[in-house]
Assembly symmetry: C2
Amino acid sequence: MKLLKNRIIKDGIVLNDSVLKVDRFLNHQIDPQLMMEIGREFAYRFSSKPITKILTIESSGIAPALMTGWALNVPVVFARKRKSLTMNNVYQSTVFSYTKQETNTLIVSKSLMNKNEHWLLIDDFLANGQAAQALIDIVQQSGGFIEGIGIVIEKTFQPGGKQLREKGIHVESLAMIKSLENGTIIFDE
Amino acid sequence: MKLLKNRIIKDGIVLNDSVLKVDRFLNHQIDPQLMMEIGREFAYRFSSKPITKILTIESSGIAPALMTGWALNVPVVFARKRKSLTMNNVYQSTVFSYTKQETNTLIVSKSLMNKNEHWLLIDDFLANGQAAQALIDIVQQSGGFIEGIGIVIEKTFQPGGKQLREKGIHVESLAMIKSLENGTIIFDE
């Protein structure tokens, strides 16, 4: 997606060989017009699938997921990393975040996940695939179907995307980065 | 906002005299079409203000803030509750959440808050006003101006809204609830 790649080149900051900081348009400050284009692109790429709901993770997945949900006209559920006082009866799965160096438990209320729901998973980044695996685990617990995974930025030099595709899952990444070495962003065309 | 009130009546769950659970359309599962109408309504209500950026709080503020940012064509910044490894040089303020019974520190990167920015604050709920006060504190630290506060659901039986209005702040709430007693939602017309 050319618009997104141009924005990554303009505003992305390479922190080291594996971390790209995109807090000017995606995961701290958000560009709503760009998110709308991202939502429309995911809706187009998954238009042949019978998607009934979207699942993402708080907080950085919410913006792209919301716009995709708007474009597909389906509800968006975000997995919470902490249980609030008003949550009980939940599905959960654990995930290790390399960026934050911590283990989170992802939690979704069972009442929001009907059996036989057709899910599109959306997330901001795909690297080692830990978060995606946890979302897949939660959908499987609920008896739902995975129709695909939409990723805003995939780091193809890390194994998550390859592992998911080898399982036969339809993964669409709007920007694929094959290297961040020497402070330079190189896209995987 | 009639659409929102109807949805609260249909899907809101009164947990006790002070807590309304709206996890079917606002803060766990999100209805994107409703959020778009909420964003358009906030944009209309604050259309006379020279807003240059929106500030909200992860996670439940992101959806209404994003749609408002889309309608006003301005960026959205969400305050984080936890510092990620890629954040340094931040403004911060503390807030006590009655729902979660914990104190959070709200954090925003200084690089996203220019001096003289004109801010619209957006949040899902207004009750005691703790979160709003923390956002105001952060904007004031940055040297920006508060143009107004947009709230999806205000509980007018708690003092936050009154205190903010007494300070001369323009507060717009799309649904105002004056009582949740005996399991019944009564709106403040």
